[in-house]
């Protein structure tokens, strides 16, 4: 018996991230030099002392499964619980390919039932934030709610990317708009749901029309319509859902510019864990210089790096300049190249004398390399 268990939904393809997610599930996308997006959620679970985590995967799970392994890097390798991968399977009667996030959870309800938890925490695997889920649970208990949704305020301009909430003075949900064209509020759902066990069971099994496919689109409206107690927990700290290349880039720059970004460089804070890859420390060699940047292990800097994030095992050749950029792992940059305002996908090899000074953020992959930039002889 557990008090609370967590489920991470690793569903969507993340198509708006373009070629980055061609072979990588979105939660495995790299962020902030040494992290992958899922590190944040897994670390939050670990730091909140939740010891069961079901990861519901669907799309390109191999790299993600390989990365997470036993979960030991996040201290989540428990004998009684720990990390379990829940992948879609077909049942004898019919092929039940997961249709949506909620559907996947329903399919694995037996996993939940085994632990007889009082509460189920439903999370996304691709958000950047640091949160103590116990505070949300406290709120949930105090509000005597059946469902609690975590919410944060976003930019009005961006509000239509999110599920928008309207609440009353008791923080109870009154109206829910999934990705509205003309948002009436900027209080957005963070895609984090806390259910009391009984409520979730009722939602899934009292309803027989099998239309409850997605939490945002179906379940929350269903709960509202059927008079469940739906409470909203307001989260006021840093939180980003990086759905596009542009927002991924911006979050990286936010990290570069804020020395206290999520308290990562201070040992007083709860850590964000990441799987360490056994690399040597990075080196800045003669001729190299680095300012206002963040760099991961295993990199070799012989050129000039400014205002950028550099992931692990990146080489910056002599005479090259990297500015305002995000470099993914295993990128090799040749000599005397200039790269400004770009995101370079993992493993790309940039030739000598390559030049790109983008006005708007550009994603460079091995395929579009010569379309977006050019080699100066």
């Amino acid at each position: 018996m557990k008090k609370i268990i967590s489920m991470i939904l690793v569903g969507g393809r993340g198509t708006r991230l373009g070629d980055i997610t061609k072979t990588t599930a979105k939660p495995a996308v790299s962020f902030g030099a040494k992290y992958r997006l899922i590190d944040f959620t897994l670390s939050n679970i670990s730091n909140s002392n939740i010891d069961v985590c079901g990861i519901v995967t669907q799309y390109e799970p191999f790299e993600l499964m390989n990365y997470i392994g036993s979960g030991a890097s996040w201290d989540l390798d428990y004998i009684d619980g720990g990390i379990r991968f829940l992948t879609p399977y077909s049942q004898a009667e019919d092929v039940l390919w997961q249709k949506g996030t909620a559907h996947a959870i329903k399919q694995y309800f037996r996993f939940i039932k085994d632990y007889q938890p009082e509460y189920i925490l439903i999370l996304s695997g691709d958000h950047i934030y640091k949160m103590d889920y116990n505070l949300m649970l406290k709120h949930h208990v105090a509000a005597k709610a059946e469902v609690t949704i975590a919410a944060t305020t976003v930019n009005f301009k961006e509000a239509s990317r999110f599920g928008i909430l309207e609440i009353n003075e008791k923080n109870q949900l009154t109206t829910f708009y999934e990705k509205p064209d003309n948002p009436v509020s900027n209080l957005a759902s963070m895609g984090i749901y806390l259910f009391s066990y009984k409520a979730l069971e009722r939602v899934f099994f009292d309803d027989n029309d099998n239309q409850l496919i997605d939490f945002g689109r179906n379940i929350i409206p269903y709960c509202l319509n059927h008079n469940y107690d739906v409470s909203v927990y307001k989260f006021n700290d840093y939180w980003r859902d990086v759905g596009t290349v542009e927002s991924l880039y911006r979050a990286n720059m936010e990290m570069v510019e804020d020395p206290d970004f999520l308290g990562l460089n201070s040992s007083k804070n709860l850590p964000i864990f990441s799987k360490s890859l056994n690399l040597q420390p990075h080196a800045v060699l003669e001729g190299g210089s680095v300012t206002s940047s963040v760099i991961a292990d295993g990199s070799l800097i012989c050129g000039k790096v400014r205002h950028s994030t550099i992931s692990y095992q990146v080489t910056v050749g002599k005479g090259s300049v990297v500015e305002d950029s995000v470099i993914f792992p295993n990128v090799t940059i040749g000599k005397n190249s200039v790269l400004k305002k770009v995101v370079i996908d993992k493993g790309v090899i940039i030739p000598d004398n390559y030049y790109i000074d983008a006005k708007k953020v550009v994603l460079i992959t091995q395929n579009n390399l010569f379309e977006v930039g050019e080699v100066h002889e």
Partner: protein, 804 residues
């Protein structure tokens, strides 16, 4: 399955000063994110070995914490895996290499291992090699024992041997002449031996200096290429830290920086560990900064090794130099601008009054402290000898009356200033106005009185001391008096010789004003040394090894419990010798010399010595010299039988200068009778002019049973006279055994206090002298290049004052 198992030797303590106070050498951080043991364990994994035994010594918590279950190196296995085998017999002292006796304690492990061959290698190695290649060469050559040498032909204490043969040595450890595999390889007859010289970077790190050098080598691309191979990665414990962050004004050149570091200042040619913070305006050059250290704004750090969590305060300047790297202790707070006022209290101090080495040390430290910009003050009793000699310079500062017992005594304070150092003298007609400085029935009263009088003058000093440094038993009561009077001045007590403890009547404690004296004593006597050790803020002795040895009753006897109780506050700082000692400007010897003309000059000085001593003249003779007090401590129990044996070789001569115990003097006379042409005994100890022995002898014999520091061997080194010593105390810290294959080392040393081992090394030295002229010349060069200076000691004391 591999047919190799690994014995990791983590038994030696090396010479890492403060870096090994909290860990064994194998657990010392290296290269920003590694620990030394990572290289050995990763080589294991990469060589497919999964049976490893680690033999640690001392404080191995940090090592076992780092290794964990061994799963990082695939060593958490159902069969075999990794074993940490601690010592069972804790009274064995630390040796430079794992002994068969130590392995015998866990012989069960060897019997249980299924593998046929053992690789024995130290925990403090940096290299990336495939151990299976070694085994293949061992088998191809059909050898009994294979030794591995580094790319610089340095001994790595790494051997391959069959389990069967190894077990023979282990089982018979008390019957054979060899203590360890190095002995076996160097001296065992009838074995087929092979040497592998590897061609990639390899380093056996045994000192803070070597740790620094090896780290610096990482900055060379070719070294990194040889050490970090894609197909054979170096694994380390998984840690969590953020990526490194560079500020807007960071300036980093040619450096290695581990994750989690925050760099806002300047870093040049350095290795920066995990989570180190270098603030804006700070400058770090040519340094090793270990995890979680903080360098505050505008601080300057050069040629330093900082242990974990060292903090350098803003605007401080911390600079070692290439020869003397500054080393900090874990969690030390370093600052240079602290104005430090020191008061040394001692019974003697050179140049004013001297009976032994203590005076030299106190005097030299006092001068060095002034040169290093600190307020250096010394206080002594005013003996009539001083009054006579310095009458014109002595300036009366103040007069006081001091209560001692039930009486009031009048005391005067005089001072002499000499190049910024202030020397104070306490005049008391009743206690110090006597012919000798020691040797009176009431010595206890005299020095107890000195403590009380000294404290009465604290306000009269030019600067009130931040620290009072007391030497030997004479001032032993002072820390307790300070405490009972509620004075909060920090004290350091240095043990120069534990033999003399100052045991006097309990009533002395009452006389200095301590109530309930019995709670500070045992056996109803006041033991000055014991009281001092119990109450000083920190305590120290005159070499690292002697400090280690004092843990054992064999060395510390009645004070073993006191010392063990205070062990966490106990430091070892090696004494040195004065700069002006040496053959270059020595007017007492036949021919002055230095490294340029040493070989020709030595011959002339030798003939001069033989001539003066009336023994057979000739360069073919191997002349053993001794300058010493002739007492049991100096090893005469083994020296005399050893000399009887070795002098049967008609090419060996023996010369001794000294005085002491009648028993040994008589035995030496008998030796002279037996070998009249080749032995010279000079029993008037004229300590001021022993140089003709230092200059004329080939080897200097000093096989002491124990030796806190020892000065003779350091002087001998300066004169290119090769010390043959027992591995104890300061002898162990100053003499490195000469190794023929790498041509390193400055002398000969042996471990067991017995005649056989001494004779063994005497023969070794003789053979090298007679048969390998070039090796002998090399060892002379190594000896004369050894560096032990009191200014290095002074710096270390200053570092220690600052962490008190």
């Amino acid at each position: 399955m591999s047919s190799l198992f690994l014995v990791v030797d983590a038994t030696s303590s090396g010479n890492f000063a403060k870096l090994t106070r909290h860990r064994v050498p194998g657990a010392i951080p290296f290269g920003g994110k590694y620990r030394l043991i990572d290289f050995t364990l990763s080589n294991c994994k990469n060589s497919g070995i999964n049976n490893v035994a680690i033999f640690p010594y001392g404080n191995y918590r940090s090592l076992s914490d780092h290794i964990g279950s061994g799963d990082r190196w695939d060593l958490s296995r159902r069969h075999d895996g990794i074993f940490i085998l601690p010592p069972k017999n804790l009274s064995l002292t630390i040796e430079s290499e794992i002994s068969f006796q130590r392995m015998y304690e866990h012989s069960e492990y060897f019997y249980r291992s299924n593998q046929e061959y053992a690789l024995v290698t130290p925990a403090n190695m940096v290299w990336n090699v495939d151990y299976k290649d070694f085994l293949k060469i061992h088998l191809d050559n059909n050898s009994d024992i294979t030794e591995v040498l580094s790319d610089m032909r340095k001994v790595l204490k790494t051997y391959i041997i069959s389990k069967k043969l190894l077990l023979e040595y282990i089982e018979n450890y008390d019957q054979i002449a060899f203590r360890n595999l190095s002995d076996v390889f160097d001296y065992a007859p009838g074995l087929k031996k092979h040497t592998i010289v590897i061609d990639t970077f390899s380093y056996n790190i045994n000192s803070a200096k070597e740790l620094y050098e090896a780290n610096m080598q990482l900055l060379l691309p070719e070294v990194r290429q040889q050490l970090f191979l894609e197909e054979r990665p170096i694994f380390s414990k998984e840690t969590m830290s953020a990526p490194s962050r560079y500020g807007d004004f960071a300036n980093v050149k040619n450096s290695i920086i581990a994750s989690g570091a925050v760099i806002e200042g300047e870093v040049i040619n350095s290795i920066i560990g995990r989570k180190v913070k270098i603030h804006y305006g700070a400058k770090v050059a040519n340094s090793i900064i270990m995890n979680q250290s903080i360098i505050e704004s505008d601080a300057v750090v050069e040629y330093s090794v900082f242990d974990k969590e060292t903090k350098v305060l803003a605007n401080s300047v911390v600079t070692g130099d290439e020869y003397e790297i500054f080393v900090s202790e874990k969690k030390q707070i370093v600052t240079s601008h602290q104005r430090l006022a020191i008061l040394q209290l001692s019974a003697e101090c050179y140049p004013f009054i001297k009976t032994g080495g203590l005076a030299d040390v106190v005097g030299a430290l006092a001068e060095e402290f002034s040169e290093l910009g600190k307020k250096s003050q010394v206080m002594l009793p005013l003996y009539p000898q001083i009054k006579e000699k310095y009458n014109l310079l002595l300036e009366l500062k103040v007069s006081n009356s001091v209560i001692y017992g039930n009486k009031k005594y009048r005391v005067n304070l005089y001072s002499v200033v000499n190049s910024n150092t202030v020397y104070y003298f306490v005049e008391s007609y009743d206690f110090f106005d006597r012919e000798k400085i020691y040797g009176y029935e009431d010595d206890g009263d005299r020095f107890a009185f000195f403590s009380v009088a000294a404290l009465s003058f604290l306000d009269a000093l030019e600067e009130k001391p931040d620290i009072i440094h007391i030497h030997d038993w004479h001032l032993g009561l002072l820390p307790l008096i300070l405490k009972t009077r509620g004075l909060k001045i920090k004290t350091l007590m240095t043990i120069h010789n534990l033999e003399y403890q100052g045991v006097y009547d309990l009533s002395i404690l009452e006389k200095v004003g301590i109530n309930n004296p019995w709670q500070y004593t045992r056996l109803n006597k006041a033991n000055f040394m014991e009281i001092g050790l119990n109450h000083a803020t920190k305590i120290s002795t005159v070499s690292e090894t002697y400090k280690d040895e004092l843990k054992y009753e064999y060395y510390s006897r009645n004070l073993v419990e006191t010392i063990n109780k205070r062990y966490r506050d106990f430091y070892g700082i090696l004494n040195g010798i004065k700069k002006d000692i040496g053959p270059e400007d020595d007017l007492e010897i036949a021919m002055k010399y230095n490294l340029v003309n040493v070989f020709s000059a030595k011959k002339i000085n030798k003939v001069d010595l033989q001539n003066k001593m009336g023994i057979l003249e000739g360069n073919e003779f191997f002349v053993l010299g001794m300058v010493t007090r002739i007492v049991e401590q100096k090893g005469f129990e083994i020296i005399i039988p050893a000399l009887h044996q070795i002098l049967e070789n008609s090419l060996i001569e023996f010369v001794i200068l000294g005085t002491g115990d009648k028993l040994y003097l008589e035995q030496l006379r008998q030796l002279k009778e037996r070998f009249p042409d080749r032995v010279s005994i000079n029993l008037e100890y004229d300590a001021t002019k022993p140089q003709y022995i230092y200059a004329g002898a080939d080897a200097f014999l000093m096989p002491s049973r124990y030796e806190p520091c020892g000065i003779g061997q350091m002087v001998a080194l300066k004169y290119g006279t090769i010390p043959i010593v027992r591995q104890t105390g300061g002898l162990n810290d100053t003499i490195e055994n000469f190794d023929v294959s790498s041509k390193r080392g400055n002398g000969f040393k042996f471990f067991n206090y017995d005649t056989r081992d001494l004779v063994f090394q005497l023969n070794n030295a003789f053979n090298l002298f007679s048969n390998s002229k070039f090796d002998w010349q090399q060892i002379i060069i190594n000896a004369m290049n050894s560096r032990f200076s009191l200014s290095d000691s002074a710096r270390k004391y200053l570092e220690l004052y600052q962490i008190i």
